[in-house]
Symmetry: C2
Subunit: 350 residues, 2 copies
DNA sequence: CTGAAAGCGCTTACAG
DNA sequence: CTGAAAGCGCTTACAG
């Protein structure tokens, strides 16, 4: 091993007591210096600082939180569907930026739509005594969080609202922007528009489906069961289902996909059949390279950076004493026409 | 607010003491039950369980760690370049899976290649007394972690090796697989192969550059300065630089891009000039939809899931007492030929 | 098998 | 401005 300078008492971690002894002051004076209390003689401050640095002293957040009146752990929980999905990851980063600015650390977790895992992770957050939680829940009953909330831990729900619980919420306008997307397809002459959706238990998946229905009904059309497939979770599943729809019976002339992975699955199915210049497609959620495909993919883009920032802002406001009633923020989506959604109904198609 | 049942002492959090009082046993007996110690009368176990559940008791990890001999906080730190990059995010998820299986929570953090932020985040991890750290470092001097290491906190370096510190490491074979990729282009007749690279301070960026040099030199060619551009960080920067190379002087007939965002930048520049069937391209790192572009993009694919798993396995082995010398694991890459890398040198090009 | 006392590293509440 | 004592919620070490 390289010699990289002297190490005192290997394996030993300095405490405030050690710093106090070395600086020849009381424990309490060290505590004052570490916490930047102003009423300390500058000479003592200097001595304590030197001793702390010499001993590589790092304060123990856990011990401090234990005794502290507010009990703050300087930690928040961010619980999302899947941190490896770009939508979740972008939200996480946006929250992280704001947390770091406050000296707060982030405990992250992914549910994969498993309510049991939601319970485990929130319970784990509770045992870690996080100061607050930002959550995109998998379950549809959040009464079990009430105790934690009563104990003073603020919750901010994102992407999906709380059920049977009052809490701050940040959502996208899924239903309306879905209706707008489907109207866009209707305006190009399409009548047989298929819907690919995620789990029916997911609030946003339901909203997007309802937006699809709104648009059809608004145009005097019926929602046809054979054009609606839900509970799809992966690229592969969406690809298989879209393929079947295109192969069997009277195929759809356009698709509305309720989520980025499902959109990609639809792209694959359409491409496999060389129908990409014939079958229209609009997807919910933007994704990297959507503009480089041929045709480029028209999407309803959400704004995960704003969602993350708004959620963090609400959470930190609560931690700073904001006691207004529960807030509900709606973050705007953007419709981006790139080509795939502008393919008109072709003569000869139905 | 909805009424969701009785809540005892709103704002109050039950402690072991409260559970003990309700169950009419001593504090120590509650502690035994919570920690699943076997030597407790089943009847008392039952009484304690009921009391704990009735009071919604959640053990306080911080307090427990404070007194516990091993001082374990049941928390690890995972510090990566950028959690919103799919490569980092996939590693994070792989680690998270293994951590959850052990009941360990994950504190995540992103550096964005800022060594100062690396110092802040590792220091924050230290104050939180994490049990171990998985880190893809931004800095090139890790002596400052020695104290923490001596205090018993294992570090596993991923993607980049430690400098001036002994620690477990999990890397991809960047240099060799880069050389192989460039040889692939050479075998198609290309001689003017441009290299687009990330910050020269990043270990993997340097390795990939060296692999590029190895291949050229191995073929008896010189490394030409005007074909090498490094310190590129974004899609936009890579796109601009690749565009300039294509527009000015004697353009390259092939590109090797050292990172997923740079590959995408090169794709954009090539497409803008309608050269996608003429200019060859191989990228390091796979990315979603690489196979749906036209031509599909040939890549050297890393295996972030295995990197994450190996790193977590090493870390948890250390926490379980493994005291072998520092381990170094190399995770294999996969060359995926999809089309863009197989475009031959065309007659008339140089 | 059960419990009373001491102490982990820190902050609070108080006295000087 | 400084410090000695008590206590946060738990586990350790020990006695019964």
């Amino acid at each position: 091993m390289l010699d990289v300078g002297p190490v005192r008492s290997p394996g030993y971690r300095a405490t405030m007591k050690d710093v106090a002894a070395l600086a020849r002051v009381s424990l309490k004076t060290v505590s004052r210096v570490i916490n930047d209390e102003p009423t300390v003689n500058p000479e003592l401050v200097e001595r304590v600082r030197r001793a702390a640095s010499q001993l590589h002293y790092q304060p123990n957040f856990g011990a401090s939180a234990l005794r502290r009146r507010d009990g703050r752990s300087s930690t928040i929980g961010v619980l999302l569907e899947d941190l490896s999905n770009p939508f979740s990851a972008t939200i996480y980063r946006a929250v992280e930026e704001m947390a770091i600015a406050r000296g707060v650390s982030v405990l992250g977790g992914s549910f994969d739509e498993d309510p049991r895992r939601e319970h485990e992770l929130t319970s784990s957050m509770s045992r870690h005594r996080v100061d607050g939680v930002i959550i995109a829940p998998a379950s549809r009953d959040h009464q079990y969080l009430r105790q934690e909330q009563m104990a003073g831990v603020p919750f901010v729900f994102i992407d999906r609202p709380p059920y049977l619980l009052e809490a701050d919420t940040v959502l996208s306008d899924s239903r309306e922007s879905s209706a707008r997307a489907v109207k866009h397809l209707l305006s190009r002459g399409h009548r047989r528009i298929a819907f690919l959706g995620d789990l029916v238990t997911i609030h946003t998946a339901e909203e997007r489906y309802l937006g699809y229905c709104d648009a059809l009904i608004g145009a005097g059309l019926a929602v046809e069961d054979d054009l609606v497939v839900r509970n799809l979770r992966t690229i592969e599943a969406a690809q298989a289902v879209a393929g079947q729809l295109l192969d069997v019976g009277v195929p759809p002339t356009a698709f509305f996909a309720g989520q980025n992975l499902l959109t990609i699955g639809a792209v694959r199915a359409i491409r496999e059949r060389a129908l990409q210049l014939r079958v229209a497609l609009v997807g919910f959620d933007d994704f990297l390279l959507a503009d480089l495909l041929e045709p480029a993919v028209t999407v309803v883009a959400q704004d995960p950076v704003t969602i993350g920032r708004e959620a963090a802002a609400l959470l930190f406001a609560r931690l700073d004493g904001d006691d207004r009633p529960s807030q509900k923020k709606i973050v705007e989506t953007t419709f981006i026409a790139r080509g795939s959604g502008e393919i008109p109904l072709l003569v000869g198609d139905n």
